[in-house]
Structure formats: C-alpha cells, structure tokens
Amino acid sequence: MFFVAAGMFTVSDAQAMHISEGILPFNWAALWFAVAAPFVAAGLFQLAKRSKTDLSFKPLVGLMAAAIFIISCMPIPVPTAGTCSHPCGTGMSAILLGPWISVLVAAVALLIQALFLAHGGLSTWGANIVSMGVLGSFTGYAIFKVLRSVRINMAVAGFTAGLFADWATYAGTSAILASGIKGDAPFMPLFWKILISFMPTQLPLGILEGAMTAGMIVLLYKKRPDLLEKMHVITTGERQEAKG
C-alpha cells in the first residue's frame, strides 16, 4: 500500500516540500507560528545588527531571498520518479548567510510564494518556516561547518550540506503534516506513511540539491573567493589558497 501512495505522489505532487494552504487545522497552524516566531525574531535581530555596520547588507539579503525564491521555483527532473520537482535552497543560503538570516530568507521566499503562487500558504507559513527555514538551514549549516572544520573539501562539504538540508526539510514536513492531519489516529504510522510517500521524489531530489549546492559553492570558491570571505564562509588564508 505504501507504494500505491508513493506512486500517487510521484505523478502529482511536484511541490511537495511546501505544506499547502489550509491543510493544518487552526490549533496546529498557530502552534507552528509560535515555534517559528523566535527564529524569525532572532534573524531580524541579526539583520539589524549587521546592517548597522554594512549598508549593503539588507539589499544583499533581499537579493539572496530573490535568488533562493527563483532557485526554489526551478523545476529539476527527478529521473527515478519521472517527474519534475524543485530544490528548497535553504542549505545554500545557510552556508552563505548563516542559519539565522537563512530562516529570514526562507520566510520571505515562502511568503511571496504563498501570496502570489499558492505554493505553501499563509496559514501554513509558520509550519513551512519551521520545516524549510529552521530545519533546512540549521542542518545544512551545521553539517557544512563540521565538515569544513575537519578539512573536508568544499565540494563534498557543500554536497553533504545540501543533501541533508533537503532531507531534514522533507522529514520535518512529513512530521508536521502527520501531526496536523492525523485526527484521532496515532502519529507514528501516519508519519511513516507520509515519509515513504515522499521518498520517490525527495530522495533523488536531495541528491540533486546536494549537487546543486556543491556546484554553487565550488563556483563561488573558484571565481569569487572574496565574496565567500566577506560572508565568513572561508578564512583569509583559504581565500589566498583559492587564488593560488
């Protein structure tokens, strides 16, 4: 039966990363807003602090949000599912801007998508910020930092960060969905069913997102190491190393 549901997702649900408007009942929607709020507030605090010393920081975060929005709207073919899906891009933004600002970037991209494209929703905005913004950003950032601290090369660290940021988002979305729609049924069986239903698109998509993040970070490392240094992704020594 899992595969029946899995098959249904693969042919129809190309935008499965966002929890659609209205899926969560009021109490669950409110709870996820409450969970997301401190993270967004911390992101805003960081934004205010950094933009005091750097006037270009707000435009930079806004443009990064626009870039992440476009990347997350780009259809990528998922060979195993025979369909297209889209990356979430939060791993990438977390590496470049840090996890707190990345939550803010995700919140902005999700709000525009909810209001003008019906990807995600206003009532599920909090839930989507938690799954995409918080889980995706913090997982991607932590993995990238840990791997870089043990001198793993940029491409592998970027790939792993993108991969796990995507999969963390997918697991979070499944948990939030299961808790919201379970009704009187127990949580765990429904959680596993939703998780398995997502697999045909999300497992290969995570690999694609990892490859995309690795491609992005390697390109920046080769072409614009100064930019990575400005964003505290690499040290001055590493920049000089990159310049050769």
Binding site: M8, S20, L44, L63, M74, I76, G89, H119, A211
Partner: protein, 251 residues
C-alpha cells in the same frame, strides 16, 4: 512567471478597497475556514471566491494554475486518509496479494481537509489577485510586522523579475550548448546556474546600495503612508465578517 506578475490586475470592484481592510477580511475568513469542521462553510467560501475572480476577470488559466498544486495535494491526502485511516470499512479487495481497504470515516475526514484547503487557497488567491504588492506591504507594516522584514520583502520582490530574466538567459545559453543533455551535465549546469545567480544577486545588491546611498539611503526604506480608513469600507467589511461568522456558526 507571467501569471505571477500584476499584468492582469485591472481596475475592478476590489482594487479601490484599502489593502488593510482586504487583509483583515481575508485573515478573518481564513481563520474561520481552517477552524471549521465540515464541508458547508469552506465550499461556500470557494464559490464566493470563484465568483469574485470571475467578476475581477482573472484569466481562467491563471486561476487553474493557482489551484493546481493544492488540488494535487488534496487528491493525495484524500487517498491517504481513505486507504490508511479510519475504522468503518467501506470496501475491501485484494490486489497482488495485498489487502486494500477503503474507510468511510477516513474518506469523510479527507474530504473535510480537501474543503479546508480549497477554501483557504481561494481566499488567498482573491487577496493576491486583487491587491498590488506595495499595498500589501503597506498593510503588513500597519499590522506591526517588523520594518526590517518588510524591507527585505520589498527588495526580494523588486529583484525576482530581474534575476528571473538573468536566470533564463543563463539557462537558455546552457541549454543551447547541450548543458542539460545528460543527468551528469544537467547537475553540473544547474549548480553553475545557481552559483551564477548568487553572483548576480551580490553584484545587483552592491550596485543598488551605491545607487540608493547616492539618493539618501540611510539603511531605512520609506513605505507607503497609511490613509485614514473609510467608514463605508469598515462598516461593509465588518458586516461581511459578521455574515460569514453566522454561516460559520450555523453551518
């Protein structure tokens, strides 16, 4: 992307209404929809919003595109609830040695979620179709959403279209040079595209900052000023919310 733009947002019955009033009404109806347990209210909301979209002359294709993703999700959710959730079996059959059971209560629950999704999506669709972005931002600032967040939203919205054009130019160039002819090359090209977009975003942000500082930017962007509320709009909106509340209670 053409249906994302505001090109078809012509003058109609809702354009003249204050964005704050539309926002409050939309949020009130949205809360009613997601807190309702049944079919009547969400379906009434969907019908009302489809009529409003027709009145606003929203292209049918745009409306369908807006509803396509939620409809796909609804279909999956109904089947998930029907087949995996519930206690009252409606039918049971054997497929390749596996037993498939459909549940009546699961189906009803699934349909209730479907109604909720459609109702909620239609509310936000009408809000999005009837309100320009800058007015929505002004409404958000009136609702005490932090200014820093609104500024980021405005920068992002302004540059989505610029970066989208840049992305299309890069994508077409890659495609014309067989950048997507195999999975491996496709992955490579997509990574390069993402990296190039980040570079473009960085360059645009530097140029924008220079241009804005030359025009007096001090780290804060001015937003639309709030006009006083019109009494007629407030009264009509309050009556509308009360009427919807009555349907919500009775339904």
């Amino acid at each position: 992307m053409e249906y994302f733009s505001e090109d078809f947002r012509k003058h109609h019955m809702l354009t003249g209404i204050d964005a704050r009033v539309k926002f409050i009404v939309a949020i009130a109806v949205l809360i009613m929809v997601i807190s309702y347990k049944g079919f009547v209210f969400p379906l009434a909301v969907v019908l009302l919003n489809i009529c409003l979209c027709m009145k606003m002359k929203v292209p049918f294709r745009a409306l369908m595109l807006r509803l396509s993703e939620p409809l796909a999700i609804i279909l999956v959710l109904i089947l998930l609830k029907f087949l995996f959730s519930g206690r009252e079996p409606l039918f049971s059959l054997s497929l390749f040695g596996l037993s498939v059971t459909g549940h009546k209560d699961g189906l009803i629950e699934g349909l209730m979620i479907a109604g909720r999704v459609l109702g909620a999506v239609s509310v936000i669709a009408v809000l999005g179709f009837s309100t320009p972005f800058t007015e929505l931002m002004s409404g958000l600032s009136w609702m005490r959403i932090p200014k820093g967040f609104i500024e980021i939203l405005m920068f992002a919205y302004r540059y989505i279209f610029v970066l989208f054009e840049d992305a299309m130019v890069i994508y077409n160039a890659q495609k014309n040079r067989l950048g997507y002819c195999s999975v491996r090359r496709g992955l490579n090209s997509f990574g390069t595209l993402a990296g190039s977009l980040i570079l473009k975003a960085f360059d645009h942000s530097q140029n924008t900052t220079v241009a804005m500082v030359q025009r007096g930017y001090d780290g804060n962007m001015p937003l639309l000023r709030h006009k006083p509320f019109r009494l007629s709009e407030v009264v009509v909106s309050a009556l509308f919310i009360i009427a919807m509340g009555c349907i919500w209670t009775l339904g």
